[in-house]
Point group: C2
Chain length 144, copies 2
DNA sequence: TTTGATGCAAAGTATTTGCAGACTG
DNA sequence: CAGTCTGCAAATACTTTGCATCAAA
């Protein structure tokens, strides 16, 4: 997964939609795609503050809302300090969340979509998206 | 799953812990275990208000916090109007959530624990709990 | 009687919104 | 230049907390 490539993709998509690429917005995009640790809005704000000291948290939220609208960011929906996001792989995938240090690890499961489809069809349900999160202790926090 | 039995179980557990069974608390417990539709705190509050008109929402939250502490309630962690809860089956299980009408359906998956365990061990992760939610349209909202 | 529980209001937090002014395209 | 974006502050909405009072055991 190439960060630079993904950043350019996002910029192209926004340009094509007629969205403006302001310095703040680009900084937010860069921070989002660069951060492998699934940042919160607050964290993104902190990261870009040194470069753009007047950037407001509201702008971060507005940019994230825009990305959600076009499906280019995945809202993880947990965290003590608000929701965290994945802008590097904006499609549903399992997460392993450490309840001690807060680390969020990505994962993949073979044939997971099959499992979801069969579960849904059994209930007459039409799937739009899903969330699969496992909470526990990461290797570093397991006490080994 | 017997509602009455579950209510008695909760009362016993609380009694044994030295918690008091006030009328409000019992009413909250009863409302929680009776509601198959995964109620929110607000909803529980509405349900018991006719019987105990002065019961505060804070007390509902405090009771739910107590149940969370002893693992007798499952916080689902989504909903436009705050979190919803499952006090009938307080262990993790998949939910099918209708994004149109908000219905939350329960489900079960065979060997799901195996899948989780293998996923976790592959990453050196110690599992505590998990969450598996599928979002989409329920049969009633699918337009059939 | 002892202490945990209640209920009120106020505080906390994460997120959204309104609007005047700034700036991209 | 037109229209979007920004930044500030205020508004939301859910949940928690402090504290005086009340009541279960």
């Amino acid at each position: 997964m190439d960060t630079q490539e993904r950043l350019e993709h996002l910029q192209n998509v926004l340009r094509e939609r007629g969205n403006r690429l302001t310095p703040q917005r680009v900084a937010i995009l860069r921070a989002l795609v660069s951060d492998k640790r699934h940042p919160s809005a607050e964290r993104i704000h902190d990261v870009i503050l040194p470069d753009f000291p007047t950037t407001s948290l509201a702008t971060v939220y507005k940019t994230i809302a825009l990305l959600k609208e076009i499906g280019e960011i995945l809202e993880l929906g947990f965290g003590d300090d608000g929701s965290h996001f994945d802008c590097r792989r904006p499609y549903p995938h399992p997460h392993l969340i450490c309840t001690k240090c807060g680390a969020i690890m990505d994962s993949e499961v073979d044939n997971f979509q099959n499992l979801i489809d069969s579960l849904a069809s059994k209930n007459g349900f039409t799937v739009q998206t899903h969330r699969f999160d496992i909470f526990g202790l990461c290797p570093d926090c397991s006490g080994k």
